[in-house]
């Protein structure tokens, strides 16, 4: 029973990671830009949603305000800053986007102050349901899983069924050729970046009711997001989905069962500490193992 519940927890964490990494992997894979500030858009999404929800009392309104806000913020950043960085090497991009993290953290501090914001689960999603006898699971976390499935479906349809998706895929494979065929690659880049930040904003909104809405909240999820896209293969949305679920499950299961497992071999308090340390390493061990077998990730994108 506990195992099943922990699997659900792992899936839910994986979904959050997927929302974050889908956008990042697109930007990284297609535009060849390392964007460390991706977590800042997650934070912006959470802040805007928390503010609007608090003022209006409606979670839906908060969501509807946060999504365009983060997409817009992303596109402005792309137009003003990232555009100048496409021809630079990765180190310059890392420096500039790292600077953006400080900028956005300070900006939220100026606008909202140091007080973490309050955001609660909307009434119609609060409480828990009994899935099986003995498993009561919070409705809100189930809703997060559902949102993740919908987003995955949406991205699948977008990439495989629409003209825009085709152009994006083509852009990932061969940038010059796409440009030569008359596609406005600059506009395409702005749109991709906006889509990526919108997804990060969505993750931020969904995280708002379960996490502290505070400056710097984006950085804690950013590292795992990078792990996910490295595991999944840079540029691959399918890879991001599989990678995110893998990371979510491994991290959750390791955290919940490693200490118990270690208790068979050593005394309790040592097992607890050892288990905690090993659990926090588990994701990185997973990454190392996958990279050892598949150096370009699980679903590498062919580029020419």
């Amino acid at each position: 029973m506990l195992f099943l519940e922990q699997i659900l927890n792992g899936l839910q964490m994986g979904v959050m990671l997927f929302l974050m990494s889908a956008g990042l992997t697109l930007v990284f894979g297609i535009m060849q830009v390392v964007n460390l500030a991706h977590g800042s858009f997650y934070m912006i999404g959470a802040y805007v949603a928390a503010t609007v929800t608090m003022k209006s009392g409606s979670f839906i309104l908060g969501l509807l305000a946060a999504l365009p806000a983060t997409a817009l913020a992303g596109m402005v950043v792309e137009l003003l800053i990232l555009r100048k960085l496409y021809d630079r090497d990765h180190l310059d991009q890392v420096l500039a986007t790292f600077g953006l993290i400080f900028f956005f953290n300070e900006l939220t501090r100026i606008i909202w102050g140091r007080q973490p914001l309050f955001m609660d689960v909307p009434d119609w999603l609060s409480g828990s349901v009994q899935l099986l006898p003995g498993i009561n699971y919070p409705v809100y976390r189930l809703a997060i899983i559902l949102v993740g499935i919908l987003v995955a479906l949406f991205l699948y349809l977008l990439f495989s069924r629409t003209r825009l998706g085709m152009q994006i895929r083509a852009g990932a494979t061969n940038r010059e050729m796409v440009e030569a065929l008359g596609v406005n690659i600059r506009l395409l880049y702005t749109l991709i970046f906006g889509l990526g930040t919108l997804l990060a904003g969505l993750a931020g909104v969904m995280a708002g009711p379960i996490l502290a809405v505070e400056a710097g909240m984006g950085e804690s999820i950013l590292i795992l997001t990078f792990v996910v896209i490295v595991i999944g293969g840079i540029g691959s949305v399918r890879g991001a989905l599989i990678g995110a679920l893998l990371v979510g499950l491994v991290d959750t299961l390791a955290r919940s069962f490693l200490p118990d497992l270690l208790r068979f071999f050593m005394e309790t308090s040592a097992a607890d500490r050892m288990g905690a340390s090993m659990a926090s390493m588990s994701v990185y061990i997973l990454m190392a193992l996958i990279l050892a077998c598949k150096p370009t990730g699980l679903f590498p994108v062919q580029t020419s």
Partner: protein, 385 residues
């Protein structure tokens, strides 16, 4: 003409401050950025309030407060301390929030004849083997608040407590503090990673262990996350929660009803009725428009302690021994009531437990439950020689 104007301006700008009598400089190194920024803000605001209430003075002596943000970094803290001492000639430093920053700064500055008064960080090292005559702690030793919880849980007859803390030094110290005074059995002990955001896995495991109470030490944002998720899992109100200083007034604003009923330990509470505290809480609300936290009360007490000692030596800090013995006397009305220093310059004071209740305006706040320790000292005082 323009150049002359500029010159005149520069000359004016640089000469005017020196005309006034030189105020005593107090350097505050604190954490104003990062997620923990609100802690430093509370300390600074409490400290500043004491100065403002006296019209720019402490104990009748003009003071100048210099504030800098250490960003939680020991290295940066050390640089700021250097700057305050060498460039600004500050003789009194204060403000540090985190133990690791304090360990990087304090031992070095107190050796240079500078006084350091801690409004928060109280690592065991500075209370025991690493104590120094120029170091004073005006808050509590790190273990103390967990010792209070340990004693209270035993007194209330809890016998299957589940423990949760991050896997780092202060987390282990707090668990040790809890166990020092707890006599019941431990239902489970879990160490999370520092800065962890999601506690779903831990909460599911915890629920299965069926403890009769949960002790959690998860400072700042970690606590917000944990409390929200604990409430969403439907456990709030079913298994009681205990935490050291876990629900300060700032945190409560971000958690809301999910914190209702949480029992936390403190040396101070906003509803204390002593005159010093009434004046403090009222003035703080008026100045900043919010209820002060225990951190603000510690900043305020630190400033007033400095004031009492400055008054004693007439603002003459070159009389180091005089200033030190004036500080040791702690001759000021602390907002927490009883207050005196032990031989290691850590407070000997009373500790209380508070419970989060819904106030009449729909906000959540802490209400005093009762006293747990009277004249409580820390376990490291014997190691200080």
């Amino acid at each position: 003409m323009k150049k002359i104007c500029l010159m005149l301006f520069i000359i004016l700008a640089f000469t005017s401050p020196t005309m006034a009598a030189a105020p005593v400089k107090i350097g505050m190194i604190t954490t104003l950025s990062t997620k923990a920024g609100y802690l430093g803000e509370e300390i600074r605001d409490g400290f500043k309030l004491a100065i403002d209430l006296e019209g720019g003075k402490l104990g009748g002596i003009a003071v100048e407060l210099l504030v800098a943000d250490d960003g939680r970094s020991p290295e940066k803290g050390r640089q700021i301390a250097e700057r305050f001492i060498k460039r600004d000639k500050a003789n009194i430093l204060t403000g540090i929030v985190f133990s690791n920053v304090a360990m990087a700064v304090v031992p070095k500055v107190v050796r240079q004849g500078v006084f350091y008064l801690s409004p928060l960080a109280g690592p065991s090292m500075l209370a025991g083997k690493g104590c120094h005559e120029n170091f004073f702690n005006v808050s509590w030793q790190t273990d103390s608040l967990s010792e209070v919880i340990g004693r209270y849980a035993s007194e209330q007859g809890y016998n299957r407590v589940y423990l949760i803390a991050p896997n780092y030094l202060a987390g282990k110290d707090n668990i040790a503090g809890f166990k020092r005074y707890y006599t019941g059995a431990i239902s489970g002990e879990v160490y999370t990673s520092l800065g962890q955001a999601d506690y779903a896995a831990e909460i599911a495991t915890l629920r299965k262990a069926k403890p009769d109470a949960v002790y959690f030490f998860l400072p700042g944002g970690m606590g917000i996350n944990f409390l929200k998720q604990y409430g969403q899992a439907g456990l709030n109100g079913k298994i009681p929660l205990f935490g050291p200083a876990a629900t300060d007034e700032r945190l409560l604003k971000a958690v809301g009803r999910a914190a209702k009923g949480v029992i936390n330990s403190s040396q101070w509470s906003a509803d204390f009725s002593n005159p010093a505290n009434k004046q403090f809480v009222e003035a703080f609300k008026k100045a900043y428009g919010r209820t002060p936290t225990l951190y603000a009360s510690q900043g305020y007490d630190t400033a007033r302690l400095i004031g009492s000692a400055l008054k004693d030596v007439g603002g003459n800090l070159s009389d180091q021994d005089g200033f030190r013995s004036a500080l040791e006397k702690a001759d000021f009305a602390s907002v927490r009531g009883n207050f005196r220093f032990g031989s290691n310059h850590f407070p000997i004071q009373d500790f209380y437990v508070r419970q989060v209740v819904e106030k009449e305006n729909g906000q959540y706040g802490n209400q005093l439950l009762g006293k747990v320790f009277t004249d409580h000292s820390d376990p490291y005082v014997q190691e200080c020689r």
